[in-house]
Amino acid sequence: MRFLTTLLGAAALALGTTAFADGHEPTKVGFIYVGPVGDFGWSYEHDQGRLAIEEAFGDKVETTYLESVPEGPDAERAIRQLAASGHDLIFTTSFGYMNPTLKVAEQFPDVKFEHATGFKRADNVSTYSGRFYEGRTVLGHIAGHMTETNTIGYIASFPIPEVVRGINSAYLAAKEVNPDVEFKIVWVSTWFDPAKEADAANALIEQGADVIMQHTDSPAAMTIAEEKGIYAFGQASDMKQFGPNARLSSIIDNWGPYYIARTQAVMDGTWESMDTWDGIAPGMTEIGEFSDKIPAEVRASAQAIADAIAAGEMHSFTGPVNKQDGSVWLAEGETADDGTLLGMNFYVEGIEGELPN
C-alpha cells in the first residue's frame, strides 16, 4: 500500500513538468552513441562534446542522446526518433550509422545531420572525423623509445582503413627510432568489450609486449598494463585514472569545438553540408600530457613531432615507404594523399602477419 502511495506521489510530480517561459525555442541537438556514455573512450568523448555545447549555449540549447545503439537494424529507428521529436541537429557518432543516417535524412530535409567517420554526404548530411593517425605517429615515436623487449602490442578492432592507418603510422614512427621494433597485433572484432580487450592485453604481454597501444574504446587494457607494470596509451580519452603509472600519453578526441561551431551554424542559419577531417592543428586530435616516465629528451622529440605535424611541416606518411609485400608505395619525399589514406587496406613493410580480409 505504501508502495502505491509512492507511485501516486511520483505521478503527481510528473504533472508539474518544466517549460521555457521566455518564448524562445531552444535549438535541439541530439546524439546517437554506439557505446555507453561511461565507456571512458569513444562515446564518452562524444558526450563530453555534447556537454561542451550545453556549457557554451546554456538554455539556448537542449541536448539529448541515445546510448548503446547497435549499428544494425535498430539504428535507423533510433535516428528517426531523434529527427521526429523536433531535433534541429543530430550527430550520429559511429561508422555503422552511415546508411541509416542517410535514409532518415532523406525523410527529414529540414533537420541537419552530422555523421562521424563516414564517407557519404547529402544536402543535409555532413561528415567529420579526426586525423587520429597524426596522434599515433607521436605515440609510436614514444613507444619505439620506451620498449625494452622491442615488442609493441596493438589491440585492434576491425580492419577498416581508419584502424589500419593507425597501425601503419604508429609502426613507421616506432621503427624510425627503433629499427628492431616488432608489432604484435590482435584483432578483437569489437569496439567496446572490456573482457575481450583485457584478454587481448594479457595475450600480448605473454608474447613479450611491454608497451600496449589500442584502437578499442575501453580502459581495460590500461588497467592490465598497470597491474603488470608495463606501459600503455590512453585511447579516445586520457584514461589516466586507470593507469597512473602505466599511461605514457594518450590520443584524446576533442569534439567540443567542432560541435559548438556546428551548433552555432545551425542557430545562425549558415549550416552547410561539408566534410571535415581535422588533425592535431585544429585540436580535434589532442595529445595527452606526457608522463614523467618518458625520458626528457624523448618528451622533447615527441613534442617536436606533434608541433611539426600541426605546423604542416611533417606528414605521418612520408616516403620512402614500401607496402608489406615490398612494392613501393611512397617514393622518397612523397607524402600520402587523402584518397589512399581513406581507403587504406594494406600494411606497410615490416609489419608481420596478414591483414584480416
Binding site: A11, E67, G72, N99, F158, N345, P356
Partner: protein
C-alpha cells in the same frame, strides 16, 4: 508456514494468466528500479508500454521488430515442445541472411520479380543447413544440441564478418566491412507507405497460422507434443525420435534463416557485421513468454517489441541508461520463470509442524 505443493492438474486460466502476472510484476519491479535511478516510475512505465502504441510510426516499428522475433520463436517452439533445444537460432539467422543476401548480390543489378523468392528460398536453406549440423551430430553421435547450436552462433558471427570484409564487400565502400546495398529487386517490398513494415511481417503471420494448424490439427503436431511429454510412449507408438529431432531443428533453422534474410533485405538493406541484433536469443524468451503456443507467441513477440521501442523512447525522454532498460527486459524472463512455479505447484498454508 507456506509450502509448495505439486499440482495434479494445471487449470487453464492459470496457464493464460501467469505471463500476464509476469508482465505486471516486471512493471512493478521495473518501476522500483527506475525510482531508485531518480526517474518517475509511472512516467517511465507509461512511456515504455503505452506511448509507442499511441504513435503511428512507433506502431509500425513494433511490427518491424516483432516480425523476426515471432518467426524465429514459432520455429523454436516446435522443438521446445518436443524437448529439442535449439539455442542457436541466432546463428541460423545469420546464415540465412548470408545465403539469401549473397544470392541477391550475385544477381546485382538484375531486376526481376523472381529474385526475392529465390533469395527467400536460399535464406531458408542456409538456416536449415546450419541447423542440420547439430541435428546430425545429435542423431549420429548423441552430441548435445544445446551446446553445438550455441557454439555455431559464434562461428556464424565470424563467418559473416569474414565474408563482408572479403568476397561480399562493397567494391565502392573504401574497404569498410559491409556489402553493397541491395538493389531494387533484391529489397523487400514495403507494405505501409513511409514506414519500414515489409513483406516479412506477412510471412511471420503465416507462420503463426501454419504452426497453429500443425499443432492442433496435424499428426506431426501430435507426434511433436507426444515426444516432448512422454518420450517412451512416443517410441512405442512408432514415432522416430531421430525424425522429430531433424524436423524440429530443420523447421526452426529454416524460419530463423528466413528471418535473417528479411532483416537484411528489409530494414537494413545490406549485409553488415552488426546484422545479428540478438533476435535469435530474444526469440527464446518470446517462445516461453508465449507459452510455446502460436497465438501466445504472436502476442509475446508484440509485447517484447513494445518494450524495445518504448525502452528507446524512455532513454530519450527520461535519460534512463540503456543498461537499465536491458535489466528491465531481463526481469521479464526472470518473473516469467518465477511465476511458472505457480502453474506446476500450488501455494498452501499449513500449520506449524513439529521438527
Amino acid at each position: 508456514m507456506l509450502i509448495l505443493e505439486p499440482r495434479a492438474t494445471t487449470p487453464r486460466w492459470l496457464t493464460v494468466l501467469t505471463p500476464v502476472m509476469a508482465v505486471i510484476a516486471t512493471m512493478i519491479a521495473g518501476g522500483i528500479l527506475f525510482a531508485i535511478l531518480g526517474k518517475n516510475p509511472v512516467e517511465a512505465i507509461r512511456i515504455i508500454f503505452l506511448d509507442p502504441l499511441l504513435d503511428p510510426y512507433s506502431r509500425t516499428e513494433i511490427l518491424v521488430k516483432a516480425a523476426p522475433l515471432i518467426l524465429i520463436a514459432i520455429g523454436l517452439s516446435l522443438g521446445f515442445r518436443a524437448g529439442v533445444w535449439n539455442i542457436g537460432a541466432e546463428g541460423q539467422f545469420i546464415l540465412g541472411a548470408l545465403a539469401g543476401g549473397a544470392t541477391g548480390l550475385a544477381f546485382y543489378p538484375v531486376e526481376g520479380i523472381w529474385l526475392l523468392p529465390l533469395m527467400t528460398v536460399a535464406g531458408a536453406l542456409g538456416g536449415f543447413l546450419w541447423a542440420m549440423i547439430p541435428a546430425i551430430l545429435k542423431i549420429r553421435f548423441g552430441a548435445n544440441e544445446i551446446l553445438v547450436s550455441l557454439m555455431l552462433v559464434y562461428v556464424a558471427i565470424l563467418l559473416l564478418s569474414a565474408l563482408v570484409s572479403g568476397p561480399l564487400r562493397d567494391p565502392d565502400g573504401f574497404n569498410f566491412p559491409e556489402s553493397r546495398q541491395f538493389h531494387n529487386a533484391a529489397s523487400l517490398p514495403i507494405l505501409i507507405e513511409g514506414s519500414r513494415v515489409h513483406a516479412g511481417v506477412l510471412v511471420a503471420l503465416g507462420a503463426v497460422i501454419a504452426a497453429y494448424v500443425i499443432l492442433q490439427r496435424h499428426m506431426l503436431g501430435f507426434r511433436i507434443k507426444l515426444t516432448g511429454q512422454a518420450p517412451r510412449a512416443a517410441r512405442f507408438a512408432g514415432v522416430s525420435q531421430n525424425v522429430i529431432i531433424a524436423i524440429c531443428l530443420g523447421i526452426s533453422g529454416a524460419l530463423a534463416g528466413m528471418a535473417g534474410l528479411f532483416e537484411a533485405s528489409g530494414p537494413v538493406g545490406q549485409l553488415v557485421p552488426a546484422l545479428p541484433a540478438g533476435y535469435g536469443f530474444t526469440a527464446i524468451i518470446v517462445a516461453f513468454l508465449g507459452r510455446l503456443h502460436p497465438v501466445g507467441i504472436l502476442l509475446a513477440g508484440l509485447v517484447m517489441a513494445l518494450t524495445y521501442i518504448g525502452g528507446e523512447t524512455a532513454q530519450l525522454m527520461l535519460r534512463i541508461p540503456s543498461a537499465a532498460i536491458s535489466v528491465f527486459q531481463g526481469m521479464l524472463l526472470f518473473f516469467l520463470l518465477a511465476v511458472d512455479v505457480l502453474t506446476g505447484f500450488r501455494l498452501r498454508w499449513v500449520g506449524r509442524t513439529s521438527a
